[in-house]
């Protein structure tokens, strides 16, 4: 208890990770100070408000396999946590395709000729795949064929990342679909996920007024329990004394700096920003931080004077001749996102990079662009748009480029050496975490701090979805147990052993049968058994013949048994690969859901 009272925990960042950490700390009677640079909490999951229209930047479905996260959502939101139906489609060449992709809907919508070309392309790439799968283009093409890749993956992915798919590392997709290892793929089969996956496809949870509602309530509860959540408070400097951080310098509303000391520090600010603000910082770490890149996005919010526009929660825009990447229809997320039911609010999401032409475009120009593109797609008339605004989200996505892992490792090695500091959240870990993963990092950081646990925060990510709450050693144990189970499920038949057992049994049988006939029957049935001589040269119904039969049937049985075992093993291996490929494709079809 004394330890709790003397702790002064400073949390940098009021997003899902930071606020979750703050919330958990207050439950343990520790009053943290949470510093948020924006005028509202929620970070990348914040909800903006314009004339009482609520805009969820990025669109955040609430689903998780983590029970503590789920509990916290329900605990905070209670009856304001809605269950909503999900519909999302892809717009391409003036047509809408269900997303996740449904093969028959896709082929029938594209038309017979295109469908034939897709199937042929798929077969061609199955037979002659890229030998190396280094790029995203190679990786997807090997699984879907070139034609499907070009229709459904190329344009959208290039919009998101701003670089050609031929330059984007395959690792991005591999990490996003999370189940590439055969172990975890099978885990998704044997650790029952089917029901929850179905649920995730068809419906999701959502706060009545968007994710911001959750984070505002969490802020309120932290403050109620004695913690502080300071808005508009930008950390300008983080002071290090040896292996410890001792204080942060903060500027409120761009004003004069003041110092907040602490015994423990948890940060969800972008790890590169943390390093740049750390004083002192080793040169190589600073250099590595400068090499980490991010992708940003902006949302053009349009208010349309129509009761209903389209039934989707969101639509992916794959059409290459418009810049918009995704369109959110917030009313379909929750009816309460819109104050006037006779209107509809849309969020047109443009992926860009801070400082590029799109990012720097004026809000008025962006709204005009949005109107034009909305009309071009045919979702609404530009004249029906009655109002609009723009929200920019910097550092929305950490970029997994060619060298990021090396640079991140340098930073990680340094940060791990800081005794009273933990970094959490999507940007804090430079990891493509979803909201729930970020929350888990916050929870685990608190457990490390308060209970001396050694939870590995860097490894909490989309890949670990099946065992998020399990501590590292337990997680390792469960993976090992699963591997053991898989080896039990797919055992090997020993071809030599089966060959020998078949051979010995068959040889002995024919030997015994021949002798039996000679002794008991005087060879009356001999002519019929002698027909075996057609297959075993030299076999006759005599004593010598029985020995020849023994050897002949032994050899024959050995071959039959061995070949049977080889073929059976081959079929098992192929089946395992087919299962793996099926699961991989299943996740790949929903790849964009993870963006």
């Amino acid at each position: 208890m004394e330890q709790k009272q003397t702790r002064q925990v400073v949390i940098i960042g009021g997003g899902p990770a930071g606020l979750t950490a703050g919330y958990e700390l207050t439950k343990l009677d520790v009053q943290p100070v949470v510093l948020e640079q924006n005028d509202k909490v929620g970070g990348l999951a914040r909800t903006e408000n314009y004339k009482d229209y609520h805009f969820d930047l990025g669109g955040h479905r609430f689903f998780t396999k983590s029970e503590p996260v789920n509990q916290m959502w329900h605990e905070v939101l209670s009856s304001d946590f809605l269950r909503r139906p999900r519909l999302s489609r892809i717009y391409y060449q003036d047509k809408f395709f269900f997303y996740p992709l449904k093969i028959w809907n896709t082929l029938s919508s594209l038309g017979l000729w295109q469908a034939i070309l897709i199937v042929m392309s798929f077969m061609r790439w199955q037979i002659f795949p890229f030998k190396k799968e280094e790029t995203y283009e190679q990786w997807v093409t090997n699984r879907f064929g070139k034609r499907l890749f070009e229709i459904f993956f190329k344009a959208y992915t290039e919009k998101v990342w701003g670089i050609p798919c031929s330059e984007l590392k395959a690792e991005w997709a591999v990490q996003r679909i999370k189940n590439l290892s055969f172990t975890s793929a099978l885990m998704s089969m044997f650790v029952r996920t089917g029901d929850s996956i179905t649920t995730l496809i068809e419906e999701f949870h959502y706060p009545r007024f968007g994710p911001g509602m959750l984070w505002n309530e969490v802020k309120h509860r932290i403050e109620e329990r004695g913690g502080q959540v300071l808005l508009n408070s930008q950390v300008t400097r983080i002071h290090r004394n040896g292996a410890c951080v001792d204080y942060v310098a903060v500027s409120k509303n761009g004003g004069e700096e003041y110092v907040i000391p602490g015994t423990d520090f948890i940060s969800s600010m972008p790890i590169s920003e943390f390093v740049k603000k750390l004083d002192p910082v080793p040169v190589d770490v600073l250099e590595a931080a400068n090499r980490l890149n991010y992708r940003d996005f902006l949302t053009v919010c349009l208010i349309v004077n129509k009761t209903e526009l389209f039934p989707d929660n969101w639509i992916y825009i794959h059409e290459p001749d418009v810049k918009v990447g995704r369109i959110q229809n917030f009313k379909n997320w929750s009816p309460d996102m819109v104050p006037d039911p006779s209107t509809t609010s849309l969020g047109l999401e443009y992926f860009c990079t801070e400082g590029d032409a799109l990012w720097n475009m004026s809000d008025a120009d962006l709204i005009e662009l949005g109107k034009r593109e909305l009309e071009r797609i045919g979702l609404a008339e530009a004249g029906d748009v009655v109002d609009g605004c723009v929200f920019r989200v910097p550092k929305a996505y950490p970029i997994y480029d060619a060298d990021y892992a090396n640079y991140l490792q340098i930073i990680r090695d340094f940060v791990d050496g800081l005794e009273n500091f933990q970094t959490i959240g999507r940007n804090g870990l430079h990891r493509y975490n979803n909201q729930d993963h970020s929350m888990i990092t916050g929870m685990l950081a608190v457990r490390n701090l308060m209970f001396g646990e050694e939870n590995e925060l860097w490894s909490v990510n989309a890949d670990a979805e099946y065992h998020e709450e399990i501590r590292h050693d337990e997680k390792q144990k469960s993976v090992e147990t699963l591997k053991e189970k898989i080896t039990h499920i797919f055992p090997r038949l020993d071809p030599v052993a089966l060959g020998l057992s078949f051979g010995i049994t068959a040889g002995t049988l024919i030997f015994a049968a021949t002798l039996f006939l000679i002794i008991m029957d005087g060879g009356k049935a001999g002519p019929h058994l002698a027909a075996l001589g057609n297959f075993v040269p030299g076999f006759t119904v005599t004593f010598q013949g029985s020995v020849v039969g023994l050897l002949g049937l032994f050899i024959l049985g050995f071959f039959v048994g061995s070949i049977f075992a080889y073929v059976r093993n081959l079929v098992v291996l192929l089946s395992a690969r087919i299962i793996h490929r099926d699961i991989e494709l299943y996740h790949l079809r929903r790849l964009f859901d993870f963006i």
């Binding site: 590439l180 172990t183 030599v496 057992s501 395992a576």
Partner: protein, 107 residues
């Protein structure tokens, strides 16, 4: 994908399968027994004499191509199949154990 396939190969077809003598015996016994039973009765229904099938009587004493014989054949088939299945499984397991031990000794 190469890496993935290697991963698969590290997980499947690693453990050596053991055969259950009773299960294999019962399976083969049922297949043989009902095979003889069905074959005999099909011949009877078709009105054939079944001279070739009757030769089984040399090995299965009492078996004839009649309905009563088909029941006897069923029992013989069950017994014969069970023994063959059991023997195959036992031999397989012994050889597999021996080879596995030898392999582990040789590292």
């Amino acid at each position: 994908m190469q890496e993935d396939n290697n991963t698969i190969e590290r997980l499947v077809l690693i453990e050596l399968m053991r055969l259950d003598g009773v299960i294999l015996g019962l399976t083969l016994g049922l297949v043989c027994g009902f095979g003889i039973f069905l074959a005999t009765n099909i011949l009877l229904l078709k009105g054939g004499v079944g001279t070739h099938l009757a030769l089984l009587g040399h090995f299965f004493i009492g078996y004839t191509v009649t309905f009563g014989g088909s029941l006897i054949g069923l029992l013989y088939g069950l017994l014969f199949g069970f023994i063959v299945g059991y023997v195959i499984a036992s031999l397989y397991n012994r050889v597999a154990n021996f080879r596995e031990k030898r392999q582990s000794r040789n590292g």
